[in-house]
């Protein structure tokens, strides 16, 4: 998870981000993206987004399959394959290396490294776990402040406005589009126009 995500977030954003991460982990994807946030919206306890998506023919099993297809075909917002699997092709056991680093330097050593002067030049890498795709950041964080979403429907609207090619491909595979869903969300939220 990113440093930004460690900061205080409103409850719905925090919950959805965690669920998106769980979905990415579960599918062994190499990043957390808008594609996974769509799945998180389909399982969230706030039914607003789930109901809008269901009305447009989008349900969890088909959405999970579409996300898996889009990402494994290289059309997602992030890398096609996850880092642990890539390193395994070289005979390296990333979970074992991560475990050893935590044992040697403490459970928060990697996060602390990135906060230290020495670590600031680093790009997000394998020891950190999954990184957040730019489109997802755009969907969840506006400017310097927090998004402060009141319902999952508002998160869905922000997600549709994030300009995610991966999400667009998932929606196309599900027979929908950002434009169709945007209209449906605005109608439901009473924000048409």
């Amino acid at each position: 998870m990113t440093r930004r995500a460690e900061q205080g977030l409103d409850p719905i954003t925090s919950r959805l981000l965690a669920a998106a991460g769980t979905e990415a982990d579960r599918a062994r994807h190499g990043y957390i993206g808008c594609e996974h946030l769509l799945l998180a919206l389909l399982i969230d306890k706030d039914p607003t987004a789930r109901e809008i998506l269901a009305t447009n023919g989008i349900a969890l099993p088909a959405a999970r399959a579409a996300v898996a297809d889009v990402i494994s075909s290289g059309s997602g917002d992030g890398p096609r394959w996850n880092t642990a699997d890539l390193l395994a092709t070289l005979g390296l056991d990333l979970p074992a290396i991560q475990h050893q680093m935590r044992a040697d330097y403490g459970p928060h050593a990697i996060a602390e490294l990135y906060r230290s002067p020495i670590g600031r030049h680093l790009s997000w890498g394998p020891l950190c776990g999954l990184h957040m795709a730019p489109g997802l950041k755009k969907a969840l964080f506006r400017g310097e402040g927090r998004a402060g979403f009141p319902t999952s429907g508002h998160v869905l609207l922000s997600l549709l406005d994030a300009g995610s090619d991966g999400l667009d491909a998932v929606l196309a595979a599900l027979g929908s589009s950002p434009e169709l869903l945007r209209l449906a969300v605005k109608e439901r939220l009473g924000q048409a126009g």
């Binding site: 494994s72 890398p79 020495i118 600031r120 030049h121 680093l122 890498g125």
Partner: protein
């Protein structure tokens, strides 16, 4: 999308996309491991010369990489 290929399948065919992505991931991991070790060494009071020797590089190259930052245990002048 039936054209989706598993990593194991692609790797078994020596797909350069997999090989290059794996090397990129390895390079990123090495950068992180090096920074983690350098940070630990500085916190233990190692000099930059000693760190450079251990890494098998010149003191100048270590400085080029890290000297634009403020290091633990030493202030820039």
């Amino acid at each position: 999308m039936s054209e989706a290929i598993s990593l194991a399948e692609a790797a078994s065919h020596r797909d350069p996309e997999v090989g290059l992505a794996a090397v990129a991931a390895l390079r990123q991991m090495l950068e992180q491991l090096e920074a983690l070790q350098v940070k630990a060494a500085r916190e233990d009071g190692w000099t930059w010369e000693r760190i450079a020797d251990a890494l098998g590089v010149t003191r100048q190259s270590v400085h080029r990489k890290y000297a634009s930052r403020r290091f633990p245990g030493r202030r820039r002048t």
